[in-house]
């Protein structure tokens, strides 16, 4: 388990190590790899979408396949790429930023990862088993409930499983941040990234249960003959829309808030200034989270809820512009008067400001209910959300990766390649999505497999497709950068950026117990404080003593596998009840593992003081 054993190990041992690890840093890396893979997959789907739309009435893909593509693109990007990549950063960084040796629930942390991964794999199995889900990532009933085949069943079960993983991950971060902070790390001294992780986890806690219920109802409708969304049985499809968006809107803030946190840390580090208006930033984050729960019906302005509901939700939605604006201006004033160093991490952050502001502005335009009657379900909306998601979340992830790559892997990503990535992606991004605002207003609804000739939509779509390929080039350069860096990248010291927060006070990559001695935090930007007072690193809050560490376990993997198996059983029992045996086997594995977990004491182990001293001397 300890580092010395880990050094010269075979491939099998390394695999086993990752399968059983409960170390948040390794889990972070696994999230990164898995999320990165799904990002490429989702990107590939996006490329197929754009290729189909390059000219009017194109027949690159069939209508049914196109619907599968958009559904899987949206679902994959949101649930299997963006969220896991954010979890990757949170896992890699949050415990370090609060001076913790580990997360609160290492076992559950690992379980969360495996559930996400197996859920994602289950969902993608649909490609090979008769067709992917095809009712849009929003899966509106009754289209989704009557969709033939098993595609939507895979959607329901895949998301259910990976959603459970996300919920578990969220609770883990909440408790970690509440309970595991180092001495002196008060709430109002936490780095903004940790704050946003905290609020995001809260949103996860309250938003995902609505999705869980929605997915259960849909599963019952599709697989067990209930009638929640079936008008002919007295059901009502609007219920699904509400449940989905009660989850779905907070979900978009779940995605963006950690990106905001990344930018806050990056801006202040590379301007060599403390974050301007820290308190206001925290307050704005909380407010966005809170308001985020009261606006979901802005996705439903055209559903027919009536003018009163539309008005209330329109105003509530617009209100979110205020705290977001507070953030934008505080970032600008963090830069103001700073000593701004522009490298790759900073480029992504700087590119974010105009891009996201544009996306937010179209967001406010969408919030005007009577104008949304025109925008809704048109390419204007597609443009809006790619501006905020790509220009906000994806830029944030790239920024965070460039920023924390040295901490995670001990090597610095190549700057030149980093800049090439940024510029191709940035230009491609605006080319692709800016014009879509106009396409939408010119009468192009979204989720259109083809648009007709002679409707004035050809040129815009062509531009859009060209832009998408620039993004692909950017993504490929980034991949190349990762490979090159891991082969012969520059080795990083503990603090390559002249950082301000605790993660930069320990070696890169950190030892598996993170902090040899828990640091004593004396204010905001603790490392900066120590450095500006002439000290090299943090003052420890405790004498060197034994460190308690959790044991690894294969159970999270096994439990997730169990659910994965049961998922197939649930889906195929609609054809033949014999498949129910898979449900029993899968659930048996799950419950059996849970039983083992609760019956077997798991008290962890200790790293002895002497070993720590030995390591320190090395």
């Amino acid at each position: 388990m300890s580092n010395s054993i880990a050094q010269n190990r075979s491939f099998g041992a390394a695999m086993w190590d990752y399968l059983t690890t409960v170390d948040h840093k390794k889990i972070g890396i696994m999230y990164l790899v898995a999320g990165g893979f799904f990002f490429l997959l989702g990107g590939l789907e996006a490329m197929a979408i754009r290729w189909q739309l390059i000219k009017p009435e194109n027949d690159f893909v069939s209508a049914g396949f196109y619907n599968e593509l958009i559904t899987m693109h949206g679902t994959t990007m949101i649930f299997l790429a963006a969220m896991p990549l954010i979890f990757a950063l949170m896992n890699a960084v949050v415990p370090l930023q609060i001076g913790a040796r580990d997360v609160a629930f290492p076992f559950l942390n690992s379980l969360g990862f495996w559930l996400f991964l197996f859920g994602g794999i289950l969902l993608n199995c649909s490609w090979f088993l008769g067709g992917a889900p095809d009712a849009g990532w929003t899966a509106y009933a009754p289209l989704s409930t009557i969709s033939p085949g098993e595609g939507v069943d895979f959607y329901v079960l895949g998301l259910q499983i990976s959603g459970a993983g996300t919920l578990i991950g969220g609770i883990n971060f909440l408790v970690t941040i509440v309970n595991m902070r180092a001495p002196g790390m008060t709430y109002m001294r936490m780095p903004l990234f940790t704050w946003t992780a905290f609020i995001t986890s809260t949103l996860i806690l309250f938003a995902f249960p609505a999705l869980t219920v929605g997915l259960f109802l849909m599963m019952f409708d599709r697989l067990f003959g209930s009638g929640f969304f079936d008008a002919s049985m007295g059901g009502n499809s609007v219920i699904w829309e509400h449940l989905f968006w009660i989850f779905g809107h907070p979900e978009v803030y779940i995605l963006i808030l950690p990106a905001f946190g990344v930018f806050s840390d990056v801006f202040s580090t590379f301007s060599k200034k403390r974050l301007f208006g820290y308190t206001a930033m925290v307050f704005a984050t909380v407010l966005i989270g809170f308001l985020g729960f009261m606006v979901w019906a802005h996705h439903m302005f055209t559903v027919g809820l009536g003018p009163a509901a539309n008005s209330i939700f329109a105003v509530a939605t617009m209100a979110i512009a205020v705290p977001t604006g507070i953030k934008i201006f505080n970032w600008l004033f963090t830069l103001w008067g700073g000593n701004i160093k522009i490298n790759s991490a900073m480029l992504w952050a700087l590119g974010f400001i105009p891009s996201f502001t544009l996306g937010g502005m179209t967001g406010v335009m969408l919030a005007a209910a009577s104008a949304d009657y025109q925008y809704h379900d048109s390419y204007f909306v597609v443009a809006h959300f790619h501006y905020v998601i790509v220009g906000g979340v994806v830029f944030g992830i790239f920024s965070g990766l460039h920023y924390w790559w040295p901490k995670m892997f001990g090597r610095i990503l190549d700057e030149t390649l980093g800049k090439i990535t940024f510029w191709t992606f940035f230009v491609g991004f605006h080319l692709t999505f800016f014009i879509q605002h106009f396409l939408g207003l010119m009468g192009m609804p979204r989720r259109y497999w083809v648009y007709l000739e002679d409707q004035g939509l050809d040129f815009g779509n062509l531009i859009s497709t060209i832009g998408a390929f620039f993004m692909a080039i950017g993504a490929i350069v980034f991949l190349y950068n990762v490979v090159i860096t891991s082969i012969k990248g520059e080795k990083a010291g503990a603090d390559p950026w002249d950082g301000r927060t605790l993660e930069w006070s320990i070696p890169s990559p950190p030892p598996h117990y993170n902090f040899t001695q828990t640091p004593l935090v004396r204010g905001l930007d603790p490392l900066w404080i120590e450095k500006s007072e002439g000290r090299k690193g943090m003052t420890p809050a405790e004498p060197l003593s034994d460190i308690h560490m959790p044991n690894g376990s294969i159970l999270p993997f096994v439990m997730s596998l169990g659910l994965f198996i049961a998922g197939f059983g649930f889906i195929y029992q609609k054809y033949d009840l014999a498949w129910l045996s898979l449900v029993f086997i899968g659930m048996g594995i799950l419950l059996g593992s849970m039983l083992i977990r609760s019956l077997k004491d798991d008290l962890g182990y200790h790293i002895h003081k002497e070993d720590l001293e030995k390591e320190a001397r090395k």
Binding site: L205, N236, I239, I246, M294, G304, G306
Partner: protein, 107 residues
């Protein structure tokens, strides 16, 4: 902790006493909950007007839940600030959800 044995012991006695006190309150709470339940069922059986009964039984339910949370689940005790925050967060969203489903589904 171990070397402070006697101190802990006294403290323990004090806490035992406090817990006894608390237990008494728990039983009273329980009795009240039973009474509330009986009132709720009784009112429904009595056949009074719907619009009169429904608010009352809902309030009774809410109070009962308060009892559960504050007495049985000790939410008033120290160290429950975060739990209370998160629970009320959940209650708030729960409220919005139920309200929505009541007024924004059929038209």
């Amino acid at each position: 902790m171990a070397d402070k044995g006697t101190e802990v012991h006294e403290e323990l006695d004090y806490h035992k006493y406090k817990k006894k006190e608390e237990m008494k309150r728990q039983v009273i709470t329980f009795a009240l909950m039973i009474v509330f339940t009986i009132i709720a069922f009784g009112m429904v059986v009595s056949g009074l007007d719907k619009l009169f009964i429904i608010p009352i039984i809902l309030v009774l339910a809410a109070v009962q839940v308060g009892f559960q949370l504050y007495y049985f689940m000790h939410m008033s005790h120290k160290g429950h600030e975060m739990p209370a925050l998160m629970l009320y967060g959940g209650v708030f969203i729960a409220f919005l959800t139920v309200l929505t489903m009541l007024v924004l589904i059929w038209w």
